[in-house]
């Protein structure tokens, strides 16, 4: 048997978490060192998996499978394809940089890293799961540590409210998806939770049309889809820095990824039927999210709503059901993950030193922390979709994909109250118009990013800050440098990721019947 790379990656954080919990609480340095070692180890393995994935073969690789609960047809079945390999890498990178920038946490670091790593195991597990039950198992593991991480180490003003809101939103969403999954299990009659088998189950058109929205939205709640997004900015703001990074950088991808893997891939007819109206919700995500970000004074709220807007682009790309759009979605998930982790890291560093995140109260920070300023500006340009950075490589295909998308003819069968959507969707200008409208968001993004850069990093520094604010630590700089390297690397040479994602898109299109 080959070396079980994916299991080792998935359970490295869990094992580290147990080790950390067994240490005495006072040995904070050892706790941090263990966390760092686990982060580096997982990242190295994830990089290896990413590079060793054989693109000429495609499909699922590094597969491991053995029976878990054979009575119910549940197996432990993991593997990566072109869609999930970048996300595994993303998770490892965010985990590593999250540890680096959390070095300074002094309140119960043992519990902090232990819970953070349980979360990381859940996230890895979802990205590599090929068994529907396994996917849920890890999905729930990824959700509940959030509650404690936000409630204990979060921002004191809103943490209780935000933590409970987030947990209940995500739990309710996942429960709906779970019921859908059980329905698939029993109706398929195959007696297995294996997604590769369920892909071939040939569910009836009526079944798919009924369950698709339940499963898709159940997961998409975590992807921040309108109108179920409101937990997300609140959660980002209340969370401590490393958790915000994880949350916006990785967890939201979890929602998008699971709605793709379970919703679109197992119920493709449902996707073809429902996507033409869901795209309207994603437009709201993209445009409304960017406008709300525009009016925020708190930097974290600004980035939180910016995430809603950018993740809306991923969901919008899913609605295109074409190759260019899906490649863009895969790229955007990675690009946004790195970018938003960088943003939250920068904001966390500023807040730790200046004790405020309100943009009107900040200014001149580039004098005190030039490294952060440079990193934030690179992230900002990525966010705007500047060529040469990963944001451009991701968003351009999405807009192309949306422009070229066409609604399936089945929209004619919409119920009477949705006929107005069907009428629009059948015209050739439906998706192009959506692309044009969404492009407004790019302009708005440029406006709020540049304004934030100008207010926070340039201009006059307040007297108080001039005396008290110091530069960031070396570890912080290393973390920022890693994140920037990914954005620049993919931006300069997109093929390093695009060809890989492309191999993952092919089977999805085959399931959708458009390849």
């Amino acid at each position: 048997m080959n070396f079980p790379f994916l299991s080792v990656i998935t359970f490295t954080p869990a094992v580290a978490s147990l080790l950390i919990l067994m240490m005495p609480g006072e040995r904070k340095t050892e706790v941090r060192a263990t966390a760092l070692a686990a982060g580096i180890f997982a990242t190295l393995l994830a990089v290896y998996v990413y590079l060793a994935y054989d693109q000429s073969l495609g499909g699922y690789q590094f597969v491991e499978k053995f029976a878990w609960v054979p009575q119910f047809g549940i197996s432990y079945h993991v593997g990566v394809d072109g869609m999930s390999a970048p996300l595994v890498l993303l998770t490892a990178v965010v985990m590593l940089t999250g540890v680096l920038i959390s070095w300074g946490i002094d309140d119960r670091p043992r519990e902090f890293f232990a819970f953070l790593f349980i979360l990381a195991t859940g996230v890895f597990g979802v990205f590599v799961a090929l068994d529907l039950f396994g996917l849920f198992f890890f999905y729930e593991i990824a959700v509940f540590p959030m509650y404690l991480l936000i409630a204990i180490w979060g921002w004191q003003v809103t943490r209780e409210y935000a933590a409970m809101k987030l947990t209940l939103y995500l739990f309710i969403g996942s429960v709906f998806s779970l019921v859908g999954a059980l329905a698939m299990y029993y109706v398929s009659g195959l007696g297995t939770f294996d997604m590769l088998a369920l892909e071939k189950a040939n569910f009836s058109v009526e079944f798919q049309r009924f369950w698709f929205p339940i499963v898709f939205f159940g997961f998409a709640v975590l992807g921040g889809i309108f109108p179920f997004h409101s937990w997300s900015p609140d959660g980002h703001v209340a969370a401590p820095t490393a958790v915000s990074m994880f949350h916006a950088g990785v967890l939201m991808k979890l929602g998008a990824f699971a709605s793709l893997r379970v919703g679109i891939m197992l119920l493709p007819e449902g996707a073809r039927f429902h996507m033409p109206w869901i795209v309207l919700l994603t437009v709201v995500n993209v445009v409304y999210g960017s406008f709300i970000a525009m009016v925020q004074k708190d930097m974290k709220y600004m980035i939180g709503f910016s995430s809603v807007s950018h993740m809306g682009l991923v969901a919008m790309a899913f609605t295109t059901l074409n190759r260019v759009g899906y490649v863009g979605a895969g790229m955007q998930m990675f690009s946004h993950g790195v970018m938003t982790a960088l943003f939250f890291a920068c904001v966390g560093m500023i807040y730790d030193r200046a004790h405020t995140r309100l943009m009107p109260e900040l200014g001149g920070m580039s004098k005190k922390m030039p490294f952060v300023a440079v990193a934030f500006i690179i992230g900002g340009f990525t966010s705007m979709g500047m060529p040469g950075l990963s944001g451009f490589a991701a968003e351009l295909p999405i807009f192309l994909g949306v422009w070229n998308a066409r609604a399936a003819d089945v929209v004619r069968e919409y119920p009477a109250w949705l006929q107005w959507v069907a009428a629009m969707a059948q015209t050739p200008w439906y998706f192009p118009t959506i692309a044009v409208v969404s492009a407004i968001a790019i302009v708005v993004t440029a406006a709020y990013v540049l304004r934030a850069v100008q207010r926070v990093f340039f201009g006059e520094i307040s007297h108080d800050h001039d005396h008290h604010v110091g530069d960031v630590t070396v570890l912080d700089k290393v973390a920022l440098a890693i994140l920037c390297a990914f954005m620049i690397g993919i931006g300069v040479y997109p093929a390093v990721m695009a060809t890989l994602v492309d191999t993952g898109v092919t089977p999805i299109l085959k399931l959708l019947g458009v390849a």
Binding site: V69, F144, V175, Y186
Partner: protein, 490 residues
């Protein structure tokens, strides 16, 4: 059916029960012999005894297969009874350990002797195949538990708890006995499996049979604290010594389920459609009521009382499915629930020792005063809430899956509706479990002193946590055993 008391295999089948009697006597004897300073060792003796008996049971008392009715048809030697007996012995072990330093009970020989007696009664409850035996074992268990609940004579709440438990128990037990007498009167038989034959032959008109099952449900519903026979639970739980509350909420409830499952499946298959509907209704109401009232509780023992009512509701879902998978799911659910709740009550004993309070507000900052204990609460409460990778997750998953499976197979939409009710309840439940964890982890401590965790408690709590994790990750062998046990009931 002959009564053959001197057959070795028969005697081996009830070896654990013989040994329990010996253990009870031994603990009483040592209580007389040992000086006051050594009496903490009484609990250790009881715990060791339970452990040894569990191993002896594994070695000598495994059912031979064939579901033999032994001892004149009084006892059924099958995997259900074996599985449940192991659960009772292990929970007896844990309860003995968490009783050690519990004020007022930890150093009393007769306390442990009564505890052993209660376990003895439960063992026979799970194994009885005859109305007489069933009634005797239920009473043995109940009377022991009344004594334990009211054990702290000088504490008003404990005395009240014991008396309330006794009055409720006596009342429901009388109703149940009336049901038994009707069964006997109609058929002239007391053996459950012979009764089933007579009832299948139509000896009793359906309406009378429905009346009988309602009467029996009063007694069994009391044991499992299902609505509307749950009123005793909050007061008894609050007043009884915490280890006893842990015991009543786990082992006693599981024993109730063992009896409920055996009697309904063995005696009443002819009116299955009726009692399935009844179970669906009871399960839905029990979960919803338990969870709703739990939301507003300020005392941790009352909160866990309502939580345990709700948990009984989830376990009833598997019973309502009335399929082998459903019963297996219920058994699994109980197997996961027992270590979970015992871990919680072990923690409650320790916190009470340190703070003298069971108010949730006094759990503030426990994560600073006792980080390990806080972790135990975290594991226990999240398992109660049904989060992976903990036992409660698989328990919930199995009962829901079994109900959907049976609902799809029989076209019974009520069962599928019941799963939706269960799912919504799981969300409500998670909310109040998280609220407790919030107090434990988030709020500043009211005192700075560390909470002392003696070694015996450490062992007991670790055992529970490992059990919870094991049931939540590697479930294959356990669900296999539960399925084998469930198969014996059909």
């Amino acid at each position: 059916m002959t009564f053959d008391p001197f057959n070795t295999s028969t005697l081996l089948a009830i070896l654990p029960e013989f040994l329990l009697v010996v253990l009870a006597g031994l603990v009483m004897l040592l209580d007389l012999l040992w000086p006051e300073s050594r009496k903490r060792a009484l609990g250790l003796t009881a715990a060791t005894g339970f452990g040894v008996i569990a191993m002896a049971a594994l070695a000598f008392s495994l059912p031979k297969g064939g579901n033999a009715l032994i001892l004149g048809g009084m006892i059924r030697d099958d995997f259900v009874s074996f599985f449940f007996r192991m659960l009772f012995l292990l929970s007896g072990l844990i309860v003995s350990l968490i009783s050690l330093d519990s004020p007022g009970v930890g150093r009393k020989g007769e306390y442990y002797a009564i505890l052993v007696g209660a376990v003895l009664g439960m063992n026979f409850m799970a194994a009885s195949a005859d109305l007489i035996m069933l009634y005797l074992s239920i009473e043995t268990t109940s009377i022991a538990l009344y004594l334990l609940a009211g054990y702290l004579r000088d504490d008003d709440k404990s005395a009240e708890s014991g008396l309330k438990y006794f009055l409720f128990g006596a009342f429901t037990s009388a109703i149940m006995l009336y049901g038994f007498s009707l069964l006997y009167g109609f058929t002239g038989k007391t053996n459950l499996y012979e009764l089933a034959g007579a009832l299948a032959a139509g000896a009793v008109p359906i309406p009378a049979l429905l009346a009988v099952i309602l009467l029996l449900l009063a007694g069994f519903g009391f044991k499992v604290s299902a609505v509307p026979f749950h009123f005793w639970a909050p007061d008894v739980y609050e007043g009884a010594p915490s280890p006893v509350t842990g015991f009543i909420s786990t082992a006693s409830k599981a024993a109730g389920f063992a009896v409920l499952a055996r009697v309904t499946l063995a005696v009443f298959p002819s009116i299955e459609t009726y009692w399935v509907s009844l179970m669906v209704a009871i399960a839905a109401v029990t979960m919803t009521l338990g969870n709703t009232i739990a939301l507003s509780q300020k005392n941790i023992k009352r909160l866990l009382a309502y939580s345990s009512i709700a948990q009984a509701g989830y376990a009833l879902i598997g019973l309502a499915a009335a399929s082998p998978a459903g019963i297996a799911a219920t058994i699994y659910y109980l197997a996961a629930y027992i270590p979970t709740n015992l871990a919680a009550f072990g923690g409650i004993v320790l916190v009470y020792r340190a703070t003298g309070s069971d108010e949730i507000a006094d759990y503030a900052g426990m994560s600073r005063r006792a980080p390990g204990l806080a972790l135990v609460f975290l594991v226990a409460f999240l398992s109660l809430g049904g989060m992976p990778p903990l036992g409660g997750f698989f328990g919930k998953f199995f009962v829901f899956a079994a109900a959907i499976q049976q609902g799809v197979a029989l076209g019974n939409n009520w069962l599928i509706g019941l799963v939706f009710v269960g799912v919504i309840n799981a969300i409500v439940g998670l909310y109040y479990y998280l609220t407790v964890l919030k107090v434990v982890y988030l709020y500043p401590p009211r005192a700075e002193t560390k909470v002392d965790v003696p070694r015996a408690y450490r062992v007991a709590l670790w055992a529970c946590v490992i059990g919870i994790l094991l049931l939540g990750t590697w479930s294959t062998p356990w669900i296999g055993w539960a399925t084998a046990a469930a198969g014996n009931l059909f």
